[in-house]
């Protein structure tokens, strides 16, 4: 379970987060959605414990992301927006590197790599260097690397960004499968259809705040819109600079 309470974060004069609070329960896919620059990435960075909030707190399975950073990081698997592969290492070496950093024992690690290769249908490319991999293959390597330690909580930033239809569907199937295993999935995107297709709960972030959260049906009822894209626009429009200009 992932929780955020009243997160504030400033970079110089720019306010990235201005009181973000939400929770992502186990056994559900929580979609974090918002326009570009809304603060999604900053919120995620605080949740995966590489940044500290100026105010407020966040926790994973009850462990505070600031005071219990390493316990938090043991319990999460993260696919950041920048996939960040090493061009000269093979897919297998990437997964092995992170597995070792998680302290996995050699035999178990190699078995886990084979298992992930099967789940993600990584063909022979798992033994090719990352430099020549396609976007879909790169994503699979980054995803396998994030899941090598079998984490209970999974955070995915734009996981289907740039993928073809078949690969996108494979990723969505994997996300559902992990949810059905009882894991907590926090999934971040700026594409509404993608989030709508898969999320059990939605958290809409706009200009550093949570503009609304709930199940898609709850949000539809609240805004009176059927189409989730319209729901999103109705909710974020209240904060939109255009609306401010018009008012």
């Amino acid at each position: 379970m992932i929780e955020a309470h009243d997160l504030h974060k400033k970079f110089g004069v720019v306010t990235a987060l201005d009181g973000v609070g939400f929770h992502a329960p186990d056994g559900a896919v929580t979609g974090l959605i918002g326009p570009n620059g809304a603060g999604k990435t900053t919120a995620l960075r605080i949740l995966y414990a590489i940044m500290r909030p100026d105010r407020g707190s966040a926790s994973v399975d009850g462990f505070d992301t600031v005071t219990a950073r390493r316990q938090v990081q043991h319990r999460i698997g993260v696919l950041p927006d920048a996939r960040g592969l090493y061009p000269r290492l093979t897919g297998r070496e990437h997964i092995r590197y992170f597995g070792r950093l998680h302290g996995l024992e050699v035999g178990a690690l190699e078995r886990r790599i084979d298992e992930l290769a099967e789940i993600l249908a990584m063909g022979e490319f798992i033994d090719r260097r990352a430099k020549g991999l396609s976007k879909g293959q790169t994503l699979k390597v980054a995803l396998a690397r994030a899941l090598v330690h079998d984490p209970h909580n999974v955070m995915l930033d734009e996981p289907t960004n740039g993928l073809d239809i078949a690969s996108s569907r494979a990723v969505r199937d994997l996300i559902r499968h992990m949810r059905d295993q009882g894991r907590c999935i926090l999934f971040c995107s700026h594409i509404m259809q993608e989030v709508a297709a898969i999320s059990d709960r939605l958290v809409i972030v706009s200009r550093g705040r949570v503009a609304a959260q709930g199940t898609p049906d709850e949000l539809r009822r609240r805004t009176g819109q059927q189409d989730l894209e319209e729901v999103f626009l109705a909710i974020t429009a209240a904060d939109s600079p255009l609306r401010e200009g018009a008012a």
Binding site: Q73, I76, V78, P80, A82, G103
Partner: protein
């Protein structure tokens, strides 16, 4: 233990990654060969020059190229009497010198015979190409020999005229070489310290940049920091990898010097003997704390700069600046003193100098240089670790 394990994992990854990188390998394996190669070539060239100046009895004397020697039998006899063989020149003497077929040529003037017999000054020319170094030493040899001939014949004529030849020689000039070394080329030995310093600051530079600013720019630093490992342990793994590459570069550098000296001057040369295995091992160990120091500076700069390019700009200057004191000391060697040991880089420069000259510094001084530099290096490592802890590390700056 756990941290040490994580450091080992990072070290192994960085080494695997960079061994596959042509540029990293170039810096660690090929660059260290350049300076020794250059010095080898220089020694080879210069030994021809300085060797000719002393003309030891044991050494075979070079043949002297003489144009129009048949017009000056007395001169030829004198030169042959000094043990030189004569190489008569038949073609155009100027052309021969210009094309480098002869280092220089003693040309006897057309009317030499008449003038000489008439006891008037007879003209002799020494042709040389002053843009060729070998020509200069040959010139010195020719001028000395002709001067000797001049004096000998002049004295003989004074005696014949009933004059005391001492009257014509108000000065007796001799140069006394007080250098312990027998060869001017020993100068090149003093160039070893700055080159070692240069290599220390160069060998691991690519890896330090690639594994810090490069990692950030590729976007791979963020995923790495999400692992449940202390950041300082990650940093130290990279540090150790850069240190390993630096040590490899210095090791190759020293071997290359030994090889170049052997090739250029043979096993009997002062160069080859100066770099005995003991001296080489000492140089390496004295260099170790400075390698630690160099990597510390590199990691700090690579952590603070925003991009790979920016890091390279600063780090490109780096090997040169620390090598400067050593370059100055090439021209005025300094004996190591205890106070110098407190200054990293300078301490190693003077100790290296003592070691290659065979002028062994006191063990205490050497230990002092190592401990103090290691102290500075540890502070740098702490600063680097602190920079890694800051969240700005993912953005740079």
């Amino acid at each position: 233990m756990e941290h040490l394990r994580a450091m080992g994992v990072v070290l192994l990854k960085e080494v695997t990654d960079n061994v596959r990188d042509r540029r990293a390998m170039l810096l660690a394996l090929v660059y260290p060969l350049m300076a020794p190669l250059l010095i080898g070539v220089l020694i080879n060239m210069f030994s021809g020059i300085s060797g000719g100046a002393d003309d030891d009895a044991e050494k075979a004397k070079p043949a002297l190229a003489v144009y129009g020697g048949d017009r000056a039998p007395a001169l030829i006899a004198f030169l042959q009497g000094r043990g030189y063989s004569i190489l008569p020149v038949t073609g155009d003497p100027k052309e021969m010198v210009r094309t480098g077929k002869a280092d220089n040529i003693i040309a006897v003037s057309k009317n030499f015979h008449e003038k000489y017999d008439a006891k008037q000054p007879a003209e002799v020319f020494v042709l040389l190409d002053s843009s060729r170094l070998r020509g200069l030493s040959a010139l010195k040899r020719s001028m000395t020999l002709l001067g000797d001939f001049n004096r000998e014949i002049g004295q003989k004529r004074l005696v014949e005229a009933g004059v005391d030849p001492a009257l014509a020689a108000p000065l007796t000039v001799s140069s006394v070489n007080i250098s312990e070394s027998t060869n001017i080329t020993d100068f090149f030995l003093y160039m070893i310290p700055p080159f070692i310093i240069f290599t220390i600051f160069m060998g691991g530079i690519y890896l330090a940049v690639d594994s810090t600013s490069g990692e950030r720019e590729r976007g791979s630093l963020e995923p790495l920091l999400i692992n449940p490992v202390e950041r300082w342990a990650l940093m130290m793994g990279k540090f150790a990898a850069a240190l390993l590459f630096t040590a490899l570069a210095v090791f190759i550098h020293l071997l290359a010097f030994k090889g170049a000296f052997f090739w250029a001057a043979g096993t009997e040369s002062s160069f080859y003997r100066a770099l005995s295995p003991t001296v080489m091992i000492s140089l390496f160990f004295v260099a170790l704390p400075l390698m630690f120091f160099a990597v510390g500076v590199q990691v700090i700069i690579a952590t603070l700069t925003r991009s790979y390019k920016e890091a390279q700009t600063y780090l490109g200057l780096m090997p040169l600046v620390p090598a400067l004191p050593g370059l100055i000391l090439v021209f005025s060697p300094l004996k190591a003193q205890s106070w110098m040991m407190a200054i990293p880089i300078f301490a190693q420069t003077v100790v290296f100098g003592d070691l290659v000259r065979g002028d062994v510094s006191s063990a205490l001084d050497i230990a002092l240089s190592m401990v103090i530099t290691l102290g500075f290096a540890s502070v740098l490592a702490l600063i680097a670790a602190w920079f890694y802890e800051r969240e700005q590390v993912i953005f740079g700056g």
